[in-house]
């Protein structure tokens, strides 16, 4: 396919390299680098020799669903940012601008697939039915996780950059072995073996900054060596906090796949139709045993890295304005309206739903209970541990000394167990 045949380098060694800004511009905006795009910024639907076929599977309901998801998560983002500003969250990691990359890819996954996010994939979390209030636990400081990944096949956020990428490959290696065990069991005529599980794949998210981490390299080597069913989904949002992509790479990130021996595709990350099509293809490719795929979703972090960041110190407003003109929601709205697939009532309803979600999140965030430190004692190890038991016993005795004081901690083991159960 055309998209995998990218040039090996887009630099010619000229003085263009001298200026970081010029390099950034070259990597970020070179129109010659092939990029899968179906829905352009003007809201018109183009064609692609491979991916139009995937886009054709999308009916009006699905397209409206994409829009509703993107609007919902953007509204959520606004609400979470406000909650941080009001001191209700310690930190927030905004996703605005990356809605298409996240909703498009997340909606392309199947329930049996397992997804490993980094820490900005709130949109993907929405597609995996994670309760968005639970997602805020971590940012409110009441959990280092917040949801049970087994419920949704959406892993916990990982804050050490790229550390989740080998986990994804290992998980995919497990899927390979599960399939072999199931096949062996079926071949042996094991009547106890039920119908085979649907084929599954893994998708792992990381960013342009994390692409420099050694774990990404090692993961891609492992994935290639074992032909693991994993899709590497890189959201190139152009900024690793304050450092532009040009410092991380001198070639389009999707080109790196070639070095590992599997397909790499750059897709317009602000085009939800293209992202969905490419991801659907990649996941099918992986599930069918054809090996890993790297997707580079070319997008932009419109807001700050986190609420502790100040983008005015490192990038110009013209650049932001240029990317705002490529807004993923606006282009889909234009398309839906032009094609008569959605009317004012639909968009009004989307807005109402978003406000309801925001109200729910605001209400629930206030109610997120502070856990007891005993849950931390209880969850350090899965099996009994004498040092933990000893320190907990000391803590119980110590805190019992404050029993008469207001706001003291619960002191019974039953209460600690109940807290632990409640935190799950």
């Amino acid at each position: 396919m055309g998209a995998t045949q990218l040039p090996s380098t887009e630099f010619d060694g000229s003085e263009a390299d001298d200026q970081l800004e010029a390099r950034a511009e070259a990597v970020l905006g070179d129109p010659d680098v092939p990029m899968v795009q179906l829905l352009g910024p003007d809201g018109t639907l183009g064609t692609d020799p491979v991916f139009s076929e995937y886009a054709a599977r999308l009916d009006a309901g699905k397209l409206r669903g994409f829009y509703a998801d993107m609007a919902k998560i953007r509204r959520f983002d606004v609400e979470a940012t406000a909650l941080q500003r009001q001191g209700q969250l310690a930190l927030w990691v905004p996703l605005t601008g990356q809605e298409a990359a996240q909703i498009g890819s997340g909606r392309a996954s199947q329930p049996q697939d397992y997804l490993f996010p980094t820490y900005r994939e709130h949109g993907v979390a929405l597609t995996r039915n994670v309760d968005l209030a639970e997602l805020l636990r971590q940012f409110r400081g009441v959990s280092n996780g917040g949801w049970n990944p087994k419920d949704t096949n959406f892993h916990l956020y990982t804050l050490v950059l790229a550390a989740q990428t080998p986990h994804a490959v290992g998980y995919a290696m497990g899927i390979q072995r599960d399939q072999k065990l199931a096949e062996a069991s079926a071949a042996a005529g094991d009547s106890a073996a039920g119908p085979q599980d649907p084929k599954a794949a893994v998708m792992v998210y990381f960013g342009d900054g994390a692409s420099s981490e050694g774990d990404v390299h090692e993961s891609m080597v492992f994935a290639a060596s074992y032909n693991a069913p994993v899709v590497f989904f890189c959201q190139n949002n152009h900024w690793a906090i304050s450092v532009p992509t040009a410092v991380q790479t001198r070639i389009p990130l999707s080109n790196r796949a070639k070095g590992y021996g599997f397909p790499g595709i750059r897709v317009d990350g602000n085009d939800v139709v293209a992202v969905h099509a490419v991801t659907e293809w990649a996941l099918e490719h992986a599930r069918e045993g054809k090996g890993p795929v790297l997707i580079e979703a070319f997008t932009y972090r419109v807001g700050a890295h986190t609420t502790a960041d100040d983008p005015t110190k490192y990038r110009g407003s013209e650049e932001e304005a240029r990317w705002r003109a490529k807004d993923p929601l606006e282009r889909l709205e234009k398309y839906l309206r032009a094609e008569g697939l959605a009317d004012d009532a639909f968009f009004e309803q989307v807005k109402t739903d978003g406000d309801e979600l925001a109200a729910y999140v605001r209400r629930t965030t206030h109610d997120l209970e502070t856990p007891d430190i005993r849950t931390a004692f209880a969850n350090t190890y899965a099996e009994a541990h004498p040092l933990v038991a000893e320190e907990l016993a000391w803590f119980e005795e110590y805190s019992a000394g404050f029993a008469d004081e207001a706001g003291s901690l619960p002191v019974t083991a039953e209460q600690a167990e109940a807290d632990k159960a409640a935190s799950r």
Binding site: P166, H167, F222
Partner: protein, 326 residues
């Protein structure tokens, strides 16, 4: 009872694990047809196939990281790190991911990964091949660390590590791989709990705590001390995290003197932790300060001088003399 070396005992323990649990698998560099640089996995790939004895790319972070992913999918990976000094490319995965996953998930996820690390010196090798980094891992909550000193423990400990729901690092005393001993493959007997220390020799005048490669040295020192009329109790710690402080403290209450010996540098080491805990628990039983015998505060020295670095019988006896002088 069968007589075998520690290396063979681990090999047999791994074979038993692979036979008993279809979801267990081995991963590491050169562990397939070669059988590992110490041949600990010798013959296993032929018996269990390449899906269960996995020769990995040469990337320690990748080995530990993919093992975590396999564990999340319900597998029981046993990773071999080729040498102690080469674990550090995987240190991030071990300390920030493996150790914390259960806690991070509020107890919902378990990652029963086992990491085998041949450790310690005395083999006349080049840099990074003779280190004892156990304290760096013991400091990290969420990990368990055990180290066998004899073939029977080696056979059972590797299987117990796989059975444990928590991540376990098994430090294998590489210079003792060829140490022979009796193994009861039918029953672990007194080795049923891998996290419990063993009193190997009873005594009344002083206690020497050692683990892994220094256990035979401590026993020899106790033998030599006996000839001088000193009755020395020897404890094989077996587990470095958690530490069986009950057994150590009970011994010190009896003997009043404690020496802790390990190859790792004493500064910030396991000996310091034991000294502190014992002084908290049994201060009034102590007749002398707890004395540590261990490596110096330097990178592991070159092979030609490692004999001056490694604690030996005389270093333990010298410490014993100091303790008895109080």
């Amino acid at each position: 009872m069968t007589t075998m070396t520690i290396a063979k005992a681990i090999n047999e323990g791994l074979r038993a694990t692979l036979s008993n649990n279809p979801r267990s698998l081995l991963m590491g560099e050169d562990i397939g047809p070669l059988g590992g640089v110490y041949r600990v996995t010798d013959g296993l790939i032929a018996e269990f196939g390449a899906d269960r004895v996995v020769d990995t790319p040469l990337a320690e972070s990748g080995i530990i990281g993919t093992a975590i992913g396999l564990a999340l999918r319900g597998y029981l990976p046993v990773c071999e790190i080729q040498f102690d000094g080469f674990v550090f490319p995987g240190f991030n995965q071990i300390t920030t991911q493996l150790a914390k996953m259960h806690s991070r998930s509020n107890g919902n996820l378990t990652v029963p990964v086992v990491i085998r690390i041949p450790y310690g010196g005395g083999i006349g090798s080049i840099e990074h091949h003779s280190e004892s980094p156990e304290a760096l891992f013991a400091h990290t909550a969420g990990l368990r660390i055990i180290t066998p000193s004899n073939p029977h423990d080696a056979y059972w400990m590797i299987q117990q590590a796989v059975d444990c729901l928590d991540p376990v690092i098994v430090f294998e005393p590489k210079r003792r791989y060829w140490l022979k001993g009796e193994v009861d493959t039918d029953s672990p007997g007194e080795s049923a709990d891998p996290f419990k220390a063993h009193v190997l020799r009873a005594g009344t005048d002083a206690t020497v705590v050692a683990y892994g490669p220094l256990v035979p040295v401590a026993l020899a020192a106790a033998g030599a001390a006996a000839e001088d009329g000193h009755s020395v109790e020897v404890i094989d710690l077996r587990s470095i995290s958690p530490i069986d402080f009950d057994t150590v403290t009970a011994s010190v209450r009896k003997t009043g003197r404690l020496i802790v010996a390990h190859e790792a540098p004493t500064f910030g080491g396991i000996g310091g932790e034991i000294a502190a805990r014992v002084s908290e628990r049994a201060f009034h039983s102590l007749e002398a300060p707890v004395i540590r015998v261990g490596g110096f505060h330097m990178p592991y020295p070159v092979a030609k001088v490692e004999e001056d670095y490694l604690p030996d019988i005389d270093r333990i006896l010298e410490a014993l003399e100091r303790a008895l002088a109080y």
